[in-house]
Amino acid sequence: MSNKEDILKKYRANVREKFDMPDLSDIKAITYPTPLLQFIKMTEMVGGQAIEVHPGRDINVLIKELFPDAKEIASNLPEITIATRNPDTVGRARDLNGTDIGIIRGAFGVAENACIWVPQTMKEKAVCFISENLVILLPKSQIVNNMHEAYKRIEFDKEYNGYGTFISGPSKTADIAQVLVMGAQAARSATVLLMPE
């Protein structure tokens, strides 16, 4: 078996002219007068739903209203009192299958494409994908303009520091005859609850 050094040696022998790293600080990236409005618009465009939550509103009641038929609700968030399952305490990740609503927290949103940074903050990240419907709680003050700003501030969780993802809308596919269908392998709907300060 060859190893790292063999491959790198071969590469070094073959590489010719070397090029410098470009300056990326002068990229004139798009910004928006009201990033929050753009974020909401893009969330709808990618097939999601964004709801502004008014101060004092009980989100447990709100979620129940949004999904009246939901039975199994998975979350480890302290403010969620309607959860029937906890991704921190399930025996195996697969036990989260059959979850009607997974409720998770996003760190910040990106106006240009409705991405939400979701670092893993639970033992089993399956809850973010295996649930039929995904609800993401997002502080509405935390919206950046574009991915350049986003990548300057992403952070992993201190405890679960192995994974994080940007999520923009529900899982989707157009693999059958180019017809867009929501809900390929992960959540079939994505609802962003924009939380007040």
Partner: protein, 454 residues
């Protein structure tokens, strides 16, 4: 005089309705891409930066690969280096065997396709389940992808419906794409829950953090790694980039260029295994890349981020389909990668280009795809793959065009060819007459006209 590509394209074109749909579908994707590109004033600046980042990175890969591997190991991953396809397959099989894996779910990876991993693992008794819907469809059908981003684009909903009736027990005659997607979802859900290991490819590897970044719309890479106890990530050497600032440039372009969406639904960063799983394995694969970097005319093909935009826009791809190419990656980038891989085997593809350069005009990392195809054509004689008939024609043409007397005589006499009855000249023996009628030669050649005007 047909090439391997043009002969295969004839098969594709037999179904006129489908060929027309294929062309229109990809043109629609190209239009969506344009809307995205025009929506950002900085688009061309991003392309410049993307190209420059890639030029820098792939000419300093030894440093970045070392940094990436070191960081990934610090994170707790096990990093492997494979010099070729065979070694890659052996490494993956070794890991699976050590973990007693019977079933592997995997997200889309052109690299595993390149290495022929699935058949290798299946021969060794491991069940491999593709989880991208398009990949799953062609796996059930026993076919190869016909596009790198939309692998099952050559099948319509009736084809998929009939396939699912047979393989997944879907309702007879229900070929509604939404219903069929749901059937696949239920079937794949079961696979995710019962697999022993999950495999992903990688759109990017980040040297500074050791992250493997995977972009999907379906969430299948995330599902593949959420339940099984083992995650193996396969990544080609050229996919490593320096840091998040660079990633921001590519993340913004990948999906806008490829499918005309502002982003993929999921942009996932895998840094190490889940707390309840075994350590994550990363396999870095060379398989020719360390050689291709030394090719003075074609090294820039390594800048490709596999978005698929060059094939979406290509007038030849749109009208001939992925299966007309002999390499497993079709379209402009596939022509070039195929020639880097094995020019003798894949020379038949270089004719699949009108040199319109639309590919390199849309390419987000500015790979000079059309120019490279042109350069490959100049080398066919060296490879021994030049068409003898065309060679002879070129020789005779240079003789005629090289001699004023012969040229003038030829153009003066050409109009006599007009009296040959059409069935004799517009027939199979005249390669020019294939697909178009022979032109009528003017009685007065251009030179004569010009002199008369004067």
């Amino acid at each position: 005089m047909g090439t391997a590509h043009s002969n295969a394209a004839k098969e594709f074109l037999k179904n006129r309705t489908y060929a027309k749909w294929h062309d229109a579908t990809f043109w629609a994707v190209r239009t969506k891409r344009d809307n995205m590109a025009y929506g950002l004033e900085e688009w061309e600046q991003l392309r410049e930066k993307a190209s420059a980042i890639k030029r820098h990175t792939i000419t300093h890969l030894d440093e970045y690969l070392d940094q990436f591997a070191t960081k990934a190991e610090e994170n707790g991953c096990i990093v492997h280096w494979a010099k070729d396809a065979n070694e890659f397959n052996e490494i993956v099989y070794g890991i699976l065997k050590n973990h007693n894996v019977k079933k592997l779910v995997k997200s889309k990876s052109m690299l595993t396709e390149e290495c022929g991993m699935n058949p290798y693992l299946e021969q060794h008794g491991i069940e491999v389940v593709e989880t991208d819907l398009g990949e799953r469809i062609i796996q059930l059908k026993g076919q190869a992808p016909s596009h790198i981003v939309m692998p099952a684009i050559h099948l319509n909903h009736d084809d998929v419906g009939e396939l699912f009736e047979e393989k997944l027990g879907s309702e007879k005659g229900n070929h509604d794409p939404t219903y069929l997607t749901y059937v696949a979802r239920l079937s794949l859900r079961n696979e995710f829950l019962t697999a022993d290991a999950g495999m992903t490819g990688a759109n990017f590897g980040i040297a500074e953090t050791g992250d493997i970044v995977v972009c999907t719309n379906e969430g299948n890479a995330d599902m593949s790694t959420s339940c099984p106890k083992l995650h193996i990530a396969a990544i080609g050497l050229e996919k490593v980039i320096p840091n998040y600032d660079c990633l921001a440039v590519f993340q913004r372009m990948l999906c806008r260029a490829g499918t005309g969406q502002p982003t993929t639904t999921f942009t996932s960063h895998f840094r190490k295994a889940r707390p309840t799983a075994n350590p994550m394995h990363i396999v870095l694969v060379d398989n020719g890349r360390s050689e291709w970097i030394g090719n003075p005319e074609h090294w820039e093909a390594l800048k490709c981020i596999r978005c698929g935009s060059c094939m979406n826009t290509c007038p030849v791809y749109r009208r001939s389909g992925g299966y007309s190419y002999s390499y497993f990656i079709p379209g402009p980038i596939g022509i070039n990668l195929g020639m880097l891989r094995d020019p003798q085997k894949h020379s038949g593809n270089v004719s699949a280009c009108t040199l319109c350069n639309s590919c390199q005009t849309v390419c987000p990392s500015k790979v000079n795809l059309g120019d490279q195809i042109y350069m490959w054509r100049q080398q066919l004689d060296e490879f021994g793959t030049a068409n003898p008939q065309k060679k002879l024609m070129c020789k005779s043409m240079s003789m005629v065009y090289g001699s004023e007397g012969m040229y003038n005589l030829g153009t003066a006499l050409a109009h006599w060819a007009n009296i040959i009855p059409s069935p004799l000249i517009n027939c199979g023996l005249n390669p020019w007459a294939e697909g178009h009628k022979m032109m009528e030669f003017p009685k007065k050649p251009f030179h004569k006209l010009w002199k008369d005007i004067k």
